[in-house]
Every structure is written in structure tokens, then in C-alpha cells.
Symmetry: C2
Subunit: 416 residues, 2 copies
Amino acid sequence: MGKSKSQKTRPAAEKLPSGLFDPGLDYPNFSFEVTHNDGSGARLGRLTTPHGAIETPNFIFCGTKASIKNLSPAQMKEAKTDIILANTYHLMIQPGAELVQKMGGLHKFMNWNGPMLTDSGGFQVFSMGHGTCADEIKGRVATPNKKNSLLEISEAGARFRSYLDGRELKLNPEISMDLQRKLGADLIVQMDECPPYHVSREYTAQSTEMSARWGDRSLAAFEKSHDGTQALYGVVQGGVYEDLRVESAQIIADRPFFGTAIGGCLGGSEEEMYGILDWCRPHNHPDRPIHFLGIGRIKDVFRSVRYGIDTFDCVIPTRIARHGMALMKGHPNERINLLNAQYREDPEPLDASMDIPASTEYSKAYLHHLLKAGEMLAMQIISQHNVAVMNRLMREVRAAIKDGTLDSLEKEWLPS
Amino acid sequence: MGKSKSQKTRPAAEKLPSGLFDPGLDYPNFSFEVTHNDGSGARLGRLTTPHGAIETPNFIFCGTKASIKNLSPAQMKEAKTDIILANTYHLMIQPGAELVQKMGGLHKFMNWNGPMLTDSGGFQVFSMGHGTCADEIKGRVATPNKKNSLLEISEAGARFRSYLDGRELKLNPEISMDLQRKLGADLIVQMDECPPYHVSREYTAQSTEMSARWGDRSLAAFEKSHDGTQALYGVVQGGVYEDLRVESAQIIADRPFFGTAIGGCLGGSEEEMYGILDWCRPHNHPDRPIHFLGIGRIKDVFRSVRYGIDTFDCVIPTRIARHGMALMKGHPNERINLLNAQYREDPEPLDASMDIPASTEYSKAYLHHLLKAGEMLAMQIISQHNVAVMNRLMREVRAAIKDGTLDSLEKEWLPS
């Protein structure tokens, strides 16, 4: 496990300058406690940050540009949200991390006083170069005509063009740490390269090693300004190759990161994705929270928690809402499309068993009408419903892990 | 005053079939009580409907397609909104009045349990033919290349094309009453023609007479299915011609309408607009609520209440919010444009003296960022702020009318 250093970690580790960071780096204002392990591999935990504690497994909602799309912090709280994230890549371009810092940091800027995470910015930089973010995670071939704004990837870092004004920007581990310091989220993430799915094993191996070195540079940069307000996650890469994943997981466990994130290309099929989690599991540090980057369908949640995943993030709940899709407990497809003609005269609310007005006080017919009419209120209502459904899912998943009833809960949520 | 019939009303009245409606038509579940008159012509009142009572003067917010843009009913209530409206024209096209009726009527459909008004649908039909709504009210020359979807206006009614699918639709006084019955708002409005500004006196005179006859047909149609759940407003037309306005006001006062609406082209200048209110005032029925159609800048409110106006409606508060403009008490222009660079680093909230989070919990810098980033949350926050500002304005106007301090309140809101 994480504490027993495998020889396999040495080759990458030996490439590092010695003394780059303090191996005893710690996080006095943060803690993660595993409170329960069930037989299936799922676990319960409590992750404490300076902005409060969350029970795990839990879902981290994406507030990409320092805003959950269509929802205010009060509406997120009403939907019982515990934790959100913002994207460093988008914020470095606009309004700039300096401005957010000047305005008192992300919590104050966006009026969210709970736990918050930022990512490194790397994922978006590389997915612009390799394809869309969604293409990446799902292993699809990148959109062929997509304009490539990534200018260069090297050991030093990445150069790319701003999607706003075309100016050239740089991102590397030190810059990412600096940006995330200024943004001020509780949980921050090392910069890594997220290589595309359709690359050779050799490319992936080199990329994974570079990400490990970037992790160490991130730790070194982090340590220099470490004031106890933030905690750093390392990212496990290695593509779809077992030995690379194992090695990467061991390196991340070896380093004084606060948490472990599983990132990168997760394969072309669900089996490949869960194969990756399975390979990493024995090598992830057992006492650290494990975050699964960019994953968040209901069926993914049920399956991933059994591999010991503690947190997820995904744009799905709010993105599909903007296209008229409502998450639905007990529906085989997880969701319904309110634009479908079958809802035109449906007087029933989205889900009367929910405890939030978004789910209970508007008929499907009304939401269908709002969507047809292009009324943005539809997006607000459905987004809040979807967030509330995900939070309910996570509450029920936690209760089921405690009670050993995860299988029957999964059948309730996802009848076949 | 309204009760004394002028001979001037006779020519139009004589054209009517006798016995078209019961001159003693009344509204048992509705009432309007003038509770205070100040020396300046402004008055306080209490308008009671089956869905509650409102104090007047008050502002009616536009929920055009059965939705206040970007705001839920709960958010409207949080902003202390008393009354809203929806537009018959938009709803007849989509989703159709029959569907709204089937879903239990507008109140239930859109989840608003307070007083509500619908207009007749006529204004939009005619403004499509003559120019935009805004062009009309403000007396501007119509947009020259605007596609004309109005096919015909005659004594019988109007024929026009749906903006959705081009199918031909009809609207006339009987159809409008039927649609508004099905929609089920508390306060409904007769169909009238809203002639353009740049037409001859002769056209305006003929149009005004036709609107009077349409008012009588509306009363007749209304009476047939009158069940006490709705109350009907007549509309004063007459363009920019004093004698036509006076005659129209007298006819409306003569008929058993519940309320009086001042409509039509209001002239090319503010002076013309208030000249029209001044002409009508002695002839409006003194015991009925008076609604000023489509008007709602802060300075219009201050000036209009002095002519005895009880209610206003306008899309301005929510429309300008979508363009980044926030209403501001004490600002000579009534509003600020949050897209201006001066707000980029402004840590102050919109207005700390307000009592709603939308106004007090987000910095101007954050709202500037959201607008620049195209985040729809900006529209929600600024819309709710603007609604709350209008409602605060109306509360303060009512208190000032009671205390005789309207002049000093106006200087507070609109310093020169």
C-alpha cells in the first residue's frame, strides 16, 4: 500500500533533483479520516478543510468560471451542496488570478463559504490541443477541425493561446501553483499532462514520467508559500497501461501530497475505465482522499465508490440541464429529456419525492414550455433539480455503504 | 369626472348595438379603494383580487411567456414582488391558452399564487405590423426592414402570422376574451388597436372609435362567461390628440369596466406623454384603478403617480439586467452599466442599503466578470436586484405620498 515504498517508484524518483521538497510536508488545517470500510471496497470518510468538512463519498460541482452555471451559491446550498470547484485555466484567462486575489480570493469573490477545489489548468490546455475535454475522458477521436490553440508541450511546461484574445500564455507547475495560491481554493491540484487516448505506449510512458516530475515541482513550489490554507493533490496518470498506472500511483503515494487524484485518459470503454481504478487501488495511499477527475454519471458513481473513490467532479448535472435533461432516480437512463413531446401536457412535477421546490413545484409541462420558449428559467430550475439529485444520490450512497446495502440502492436508482 | 357623461361620448356610443352588455356588470370578488389623495394628484389605493390584495401605486413585472426572465416565483417574492403579468400574444402562440387552461391556469402553471394580469394580445400584433413595441411607445419611426407579420386589421379583428411557424392566426375582442379566460389571470384587458405614432389624425380617430367598439364587444364576451374570477380593464386610446383622448377616456369611464388602462402611442416626447395623462385625468373614472401600459423608468413612475396612475408595467427592469445594467437609487441615470471597465476591480456590492442578497452579497467586480464571461448567473442576480429596486421604489413612493414628501423622495432617487 501507499506507505510501503515499492522499488518500482525509484526510476522516476531518481531523476529528481534531491531536496526539491520536504518529504515531511504536512497539512495542519486539513484532515481526512476513513470512518467506515465496507466489504465491497467502498468507504466512508470525512474530509476537513479550513472552510468546513464534508462527508465522503461526495460530488464536487463544477463552477468553471467562478460560477455554477445558472445557480447562485444560495441555490447550491438549498440543493444541499457541500463542495464545488472552479477551473484555473478559465480563470487565469478571465478575470485573471491576480484580480480574484485582490478581491479576497475565490470564496469571497463568488460568495461561496464552503470547501472548494481548483484544478491545475493543465487538462483544458491539453484537451484544446488533443480534442475536447469530453473526447479525452471518453477516449473518443478528437474533433478533426478543432482549432488547435496549444503551441508547445515540453518539460518546461505548455504554451498556448488565449481563447479570448489569442495572446500567448504559459502554464507550468510553478505557474499553476502560483495561480491556485492566488485563487485560494482549499484543495488544489498539481499540474500534469493529460495525454490523448490514441497515442503510443511510449508517448504515454514519457508523459507519465514528466507528470511525475511536474508533481515534484508542484510540491516544491507549493511548499515555498505553504501557509496552511491549502492542500495539494497529486495526479495518477499512465493512460490505459497497467504498469504505468501502478508506477504512477506508487509515486503519488510516495510524495507528501494531501490527496490522490486519478486523472488522464480513462480508456475507450467502461471496462477499461474500471480496469484502471482496479490497477491503481492497491497502490493509492490508503489514508488520503481519492478524487476521480471528470467523472460523474450516476452509474459511474455506484461503480467507482466500490474502488474506494471518495470524490467526483463532473459538469454533467448542470450541462445536461441546459439541454433540457433532468436526472431521475429510478430511471434506467438516469435522465429524461424534457423537450420530448410526451411531456407537453404532463402535469406531474419532476420528482415529488425530492425535498426542493425545483423538483416538486413545477410541472413537466411547464418546464417543457419554458424550454420550447427559450426561457432561461428552465435551465435554472432543471440545474438546481439535477444538483439536488446528485447530492441526494451521494447521501443515499453514504447511508448504503454504512448499511451494506449499496447493491439494492443501485437497483433503486438504476433499474434495468 | 367619469360619472358625468359628456355628450362627446355619444357619437361612438350610438354606433353600438343596443343591449350588447349589462351596464350594471360588476366584479364581486374584486375591489379598488382609494385610501389617500395627496394634494399633487398622487393617490394611494388598495386593489383586491381573488389572489390577494396589492397596495398602489405598484409595479407589475412582465412574465411575457409565463416566466419572469431568469427569476423563479420564489425569487420574485424574495424581491417583495406583489403582482406580475403575462402576455396573451406570446402564450396563444406557445404553448397555447388551451394547454395552460388544462394545466390549471396561469397561476398554477407558472407557480405564482399572487395577483396577475394578462394583456389582450393586441399590442404585440399591431406593433409587429407597425414597428417594434419600443418604437411604438416611444413614438420612434418603425424599423424600416422589419418583417411585417400583420396581414390585416379590420373592424372584425386582426389576422397575422405566428412568429414560430408562420401559420395564420386571428385575434379579435371575442378571441382575446376567450384566451384570457383560459389563461385565467385576475386582471384582464380589452383588445384595442394601438395605432402608430406617424399616422394622420383621421386614422387615429377611426382607430380610437374602433377600439371603443372593440371594448364594448369585449365587455359583451366577458359578461357571457363572467364567473367572478376575473376583472376587465378598458383601454383609453386617442393617440396624441386631446379631443380623441378625452372622448376615449369618457367612453371607458362610461362602460362597466373594472379598471382603466392608458394605452396607445404616448407621443414623441416626455412632454407629449404627460400631456396625454393630463388630458385623460379629469375623465378617467375616479373610483377605478388606472394602469399605465408599458411604462416603467424610475422617472416615469415619479411623474406618472402625480397624474393619479395606480399601476405600471414594463420589461425594463429585467430586460436591462440581461444587458448588464443595474438600477440604482440615487444615480442621475437611474442605472449603471456593470460591463463598464470601471467596475472591473470594484469590491463594493450593488447597493448595501438593499435588503436582498442579490444586491448586497456580490461585488460589482464579480458581476462584471460574470457578464464578461457570459455567465447567466449575472442575469439572475442583476434581474433580482432590479426587481427588488423597483419594489423598493414603489414602497417608498407609497410612503412618500402618504407623508406628502414625494418631491424630496424624487430628489433622493434621481439627483440632478
